[in-house]
């Protein structure tokens, strides 16, 4: 199998090295076009915040596709190949296929079970598909590989609990709030602070459909900027006391070195006939909220430690799902290998059927000259009869060829078939140079379905 992957990830390199190799989406077509021009048959570039990988396939003329890929990555990172060797990894054949399947299933991610990687791989494949106009840089082999990878990734997410639960602070915050309120879309949220954690949590809330977000920050400009991105209303810090009674959820992540929300403030907010619960997520360090607030009736207070415990529970459950996920991945790898082997006998099967059909046509013509008294309808019946006979005779050899290919004996059995049926010129079935083979597989399948319909 001539597929390979060369790349760099969070497992092999620190951030400062990874960021040198990161390639923006706009550069993908140039990189892929260069690789194809340099001799690679197929190529796909995957570049995310935690990995940059080139999936390549080489023709069987000795082209060192992984080397070309490494060279292309190093050229853009402005790092020498010698220096990059400590960080780059290369995987070939089945290992490359398995790696891609694991990447898409998020088993190779920094946070196992994260959801973004599936979409990122899909986008990378889509970009490769558009590089060369009608034909695509992904080619028949990598196309099939990426399509199967996306299918495997979807299966892992559906059939295991790998993607369940929150695995980030903002995610855990939303999960906790959701356990009190159920749907969050109609809830009023007050976010204190406009730093990184506040911004991430605001984004997470926005993604979960929350629209009534008010953002309070000491920096009005920063509040406006974050508010603009997520539809949050920016307010100044001095309005907190006024806004607290109306809030269902408070997320506090300021950089204040002292307490921002006192017990007295919260008591005032939940008094005065308020009946609904108040959830306060204190994700600041040092804490923004007095711990005694948690003892108030109908107030739920959670800090970073609590959110970390929610995340730890999620990650532990995900780890218990790894075995099931690996099994699904191995099933996918086996299926891809079967497909890959089967395609190698397609030219032989095509030649065999073509050869047999030619013989049939010649004999039909000879029979037409002899059976001059047959009507057109009767001759058509003879045509159908010979075609059906041929299909039945060739069914077994065709099936056996495909089975042998799936068992890894494509070469020897195909050679034997060529010898037995005098199929000149098709004996080099171990060659992958036919880029038509993948498309021939699909065409053959369509023709087989058509023949089976006629054969009945």
């Amino acid at each position: 199998m001539s597929v390979s992957v060369v790349g760099i990830s969070h497992r092999s390199a620190p951030l400062e090295v990874r960021e040198r190799f990161a390639l923006p989406a706009g550069d993908a077509s140039d990189v892929l076009a260069e690789l194809l021009a340099a001799g690679c048959s197929e190529a796909v570039l995957l570049s995310t915040c935690n990995r940059t990988e080139l999936y390549v396939r080489a023709p069987m003329d000795g082209t060192d596709a992984p080397r070309l890929g490494a060279r292309a990555l190093c050229a853009r990172s402005r790092m020498s190949e010698e220096d990059a060797a400590a960080y780059l990894y290369t995987l070939n054949g089945t290992a490359a296929v398995r790696h891609l399947f694991r990447v898409v299933s998020s088993l190779d991610s920094m946070v196992v079970g994260e959801a973004q990687i599936q979409g990122q791989v899909k986008e990378a494949y889509g970009r490769a598909a558009g590089v060369q106009g009608e034909s695509n840089a992904a080619g028949p082999i990598l196309s099939r590989m990426f399509e199967m990878a996306l299918h495997v990734g979807a299966r892992v997410r559906q059939e295991t609990r790998l993607a369940e639960g929150a695995a980030s602070i903002p995610g855990a915050a939303v999960e906790l709030a959701g356990k009190v309120f159920g749907a969050l879309a109609d809830r009023r949220v007050l976010v204190l602070g406009a730093g990184k954690m506040s911004t991430l949590t605001t984004r997470c809330l926005h993604e979960h459909g929350v629209r009534g977000i008010t953002l309070a920050s000491r920096s009005e400009e920063r509040a406006r900027e974050v508010g603009r991105r997520f539809g949050a209303e920016p307010v100044t810090f001095d309005r907190i006391a006024e806004l607290l009674p109306r809030a269902d959820l408070v997320v506090s992540a300021t950089a204040a070195p002292h307490v921002v929300l006192t017990r007295e403030m919260i008591e005032h907010a939940v008094g005065r006939g308020r009946h609904s619960p108040l959830v306060i997520l204190d994700i600041a360090l040092p804490r923004d909220v007095e711990p005694e607030v948690g003892s108030l009736a109908n107030v739920f207070l959670y800090d970073l430690d609590d959110l970390s415990r929610v995340i730890a529970g999620t990650l532990e459950r995900r780890r218990s799902e790894l075995e099931g996920a690996e099994q699904i991945i191995e099933d996918g790898v086996r299926e891809f290998r079967s497909w890959y082997r089967a395609r190698r006998v397609v030219p032989v099967i095509r030649a065999l059927r073509g050869h047999a059909e030619s013989m049939r046509q010649r004999e039909l013509e000879r029979a037409r000259r002899v059976l001059r008294n047959l009507s057109d309808e009767e001759f058509e019946a003879v045509d159908t009869l010979t075609r059906q006979l041929l299909n039945k005779v060739l069914h077994s050899p065709t099936t056996r060829l495909r089975e042998a290919a799936a068992e890894g004996r494509a070469g020897e059995v195909a050679d034997l078939a060529c010898y037995l049926f005098s199929l000149e010129g098709e004996q080099d079935v171990s060659s992958d140079r036919s880029d038509r083979a993948g498309r021939e597989t699909d065409n053959y399948a369509r023709e087989a379905r058509h023949r089976n319909g006629d054969g009945k």
Binding site: R161, V180, F181, G182, H275, P277, A297, V310
Partner: protein, 270 residues
């Protein structure tokens, strides 16, 4: 035929309970649809059993302990199905399926034969009284289930216990909504049912004894509903409402058992 269909319904309720309990034990994040489907199949079998009773005995299964309990279980099952229809509320089945399986089991143990009651015990008035009262009790069962899950989830959230209860049980507000709706529907149903029973008793018996167990039990249940309603005023009303629903249901069940054991009058009554 009647017994067989009831046994099938009981089996399906028990399997539904087992499926839900297993998914809870496995710390799944949500109750499986299988549990709801099994409950629905059980309701279908149960309905067929009650229909067979009606066809065979030419009367509604409302008098006699066994038939009355079976009808009560059926109404609880239907109410459970309606309450569990949303994804989040499926966890209510953890409480409701064992409860209705127990009631149906008690019905089958008592024998599914109609009581040999006087002719006056039949009629539309009586049927309406029993059906409405049964619906009221079914709503109380749903309020109990929602209240119990609410209290346990509240404890988990307040105590920061992020285990199975936290993951599997629904959120607090949906549970409160279900419990509140059950009380809102159950109280008028029971009120009208009791009123019809009172009027029917006066019509056929010219008197209504305060020591009659059905009177005591009916009024006590009505009192529980009223208390559940009153508990929802003031601060922490959701928590108080849930607590009253749970305690009140326990009081209703305990009083029924006490009345059955210690008061001999009105034995034909549920």
């Amino acid at each position: 035929m009647i017994d067989a269909l009831h046994a099938l319904a009981l089996g399906l309720y028990l399997i539904a309970a087992a499926v839900l309990a297993t998914s809870f034990a496995e710390a799944r994040p949500v109750a499986p649809r299988t549990g709801l489907a099994l409950l629905a199949l059980g309701v279908g079998a149960h309905a067929a059993g009650l229909a067979a009773f009606i066809v065979l005995h030419r009367e509604l299964p409302l008098s006699g302990l066994g038939p009355a309990l079976s009808s009560q279980a059926f109404v609880i099952a239907v109410a459970s199905l309606l309450a569990m229809v949303t994804r989040d509320a499926r966890a209510l089945g953890l409480v409701l399926t064992p409860l209705l399986a127990f009631v149906l089991g008690a019905a089958m143990a008592s024998g599914l034969e109609p009581a040999s009651e006087p002719l006056a015990f039949r009629g539309a008035w009586f049927a309406a009284h029993v059906l409405l009262a049964t619906a009221g009790y079914a709503c109380l069962a749903v309020a109990f289930a929602a209240g119990l899950l609410y209290l346990l989830q509240f404890r988990a959230l307040k105590g920061k216990l992020f285990g199975r209860v936290f993951r599997y049980f629904p959120a607090l507000e949906p549970l409160d909504r279900i419990g509140w709706l059950a009380v809102l529907l159950g109280l008028p149903a029971l009120t009208i049912g009791l009123g019809l029973g009172w009027a029917w008793t006066l019509r056929y018996h010219q008197s209504l004894l305060a020591t009659d167990p059905k009177v005591i039990w009916g009024l006590l249940t009505w009192g529980v509903f009223a208390a559940a309603l009153l508990a929802r005023t003031g601060p922490a009303r959701e928590w108080r409402g849930a607590l009253v629903s749970v305690v009140g249901f326990g009081v209703v069940v305990a009083s029924y058992l006490a009345l059955r054991l210690f008061l001999t009058a009105g034995r034909g009554f549920l």
